[in-house]
């Protein structure tokens, strides 16, 4: 059975996500969007899947290979522009060909996640986060052996490390090889992608932490999308490039751990120790009106 997947191109609502690569290869809950869709189509009987990419076709090819991982044959075809579902059906699907999956699985635009048609991914950062939150309970498929639900609403990767003094509040997702250090509070509504670190006494709630991201000691990520050194408030679309790597930074080997400010000056990696120590003290300082139980260790 055949099927077509259309890669989304319009990143107007989520420009920072598109900076990392084609939207179809954006990582979500341990795999990229196009991989989640191929897994879904393979599960309903697809054997040949054509992926139509108008943007970053090579990156899409790298992400999906030839499809052997799912037991299907995948080809990535370049298009000059993003096709609509109807245009793709007309171009690639012969009318009445019984070899195609039945609608709606025959031609799919990957502007949403499998089973979440009413949750568009790329309209805004808020819609992105809402879609991820809605999809989290659906993301654990039988094929995904490296993640499991350890308690209702709490999913943890098999190679993740969670300190015994960390607090996990459902719903939350701790990706494979991620690390949650002592005293950290993760959740509710927190998604920590693969290989990321929630530093000691950090707090992450109603947020998505992208892969290979370090959330520093005692920092608080709330209502945000944090990926590398970029912090986006999904309620306001405000974007902050955090200059100090000990607060928020990328752990990816392909990127420098140092970050640059808007003038291109390298910051953080050369930051003097004094202010850093002062700030850590400040972050652990007693808050006016806060009870002792709320204070970081």
């Amino acid at each position: 059975m055949k099927a077509v997947l259309i890669c989304p191109v319009d990143s107007t609502g989520v420009p920072r996500l598109a900076e990392a690569g084609p939207l179809a290869t954006t990582p979500i809950l341990g795999d990229c969007i196009v991989a989640h869709w191929i897994e879904r189509l393979a599960g309903v009987g697809a054997r040949q899947i054509e992926v139509i990419a108008a943007d970053g076709a090579n990156r899409v090819r790298e992400a999906v290979g030839d499809g052997a991982r799912w037991g299907v044959q995948v080809t990535v075809t370049v298009s000059k522009f993003e096709l609509t579902r109807e245009e793709a059906a007309e171009k690639y699907k012969a009318a009445g060909d019984p070899a195609w999956l039945p609608e709606p699985n025959d031609v799919i635009s990957m502007s949403h996640l499998p089973g979440c048609q009413d949750r568009p991914l790329f309209e805004s950062y808020a819609s992105w986060f809402a879609a991820l939150s809605a999809w989290t309970p659906l993301a654990l498929t039988p094929a995904r052996v490296r993640i499991s639900q350890v308690r209702p609403g709490i999913w943890i990767g098999s190679r993740a490390q969670v300190s015994s003094s960390a607090e996990l509040v459902a719903p939350c997702w701790i990706g494979d090889r991620a690390s949650v250090e002592e005293g950290a509070v993760v959740g509710p509504g927190a998604i920590i992608e693969d290989r990321s670190v929630a530093g000691s006494s950090s707090r992450i709630a109603h947020s998505w932490v992208g892969p290979d991201t370090f959330v520093g000691r005692m920092t608080s990520v709330a209502n945000s999308i944090a990926w590398g050194s970029t912090l986006i408030d999904w309620r306001t679309d405000s974007v902050l490039h955090v200059p100090d790597p000990f607060l928020l930074s990328s752990l990816s080997k392909s990127k420098s751990s140092a970050t640059t400010d808007r003038f291109g000056r390298t910051l953080g990696a050369k930051a003097p120790a004094g202010p850093q120590i002062d700030l850590i003290k400040a972050m652990g300082a007693p808050r006016a009106g806060a009870s002792d139980a709320n204070l970081p260790a």
């Binding site: 920092t219 200059p243 100090d244 808007r262 910051l267 202010p275 400040a282 300082a285 806060a290």
Partner: protein
């Protein structure tokens, strides 16, 4: 950076960035402008586009020096969204009274 006195208030404005480059002078200038009659210190962050850990450290140092002065109030005025994000990330928004006018 501009420091103005209005009655019992000390108003600090025109801070374009607060970083390792100017955090010491920021602290020193404000401390020298403080008098026994100062009741309110207002740091206007509406023009502050960039701040790093040194800038946050300077704000914290100011916070520490004001809590030693009984009855003195420290306010941050109109931080731009990015600076507010940084304050939230470091949980420092809990230390300061943040006012929008």
């Amino acid at each position: 950076m501009k420091i103005q006195r209005e009655g019992e208030s000390l108003i600090v404005s025109d801070i374009h960035e607060l970083t390792a480059v100017n955090s010491s002078s920021f602290r020193d200038e404000i401390n020298s402008a403080l008098t026994g009659s100062t009741v309110v210190i207002e740091i206007d962050l509406s023009n502050t586009q960039f701040m790093d850990s040194s800038g946050l450290g300077a704000l914290f140092a100011l916070y520490r020096s004001t809590i030693k002065r009984e009855g003195v109030v420290l306010r941050l005025l109109n931080p731009v969204p990015e600076i507010e994000q940084l304050l939230e990330l470091t949980q420092m928004q809990q230390l300061f009274e943040i006012v929008r006018r």
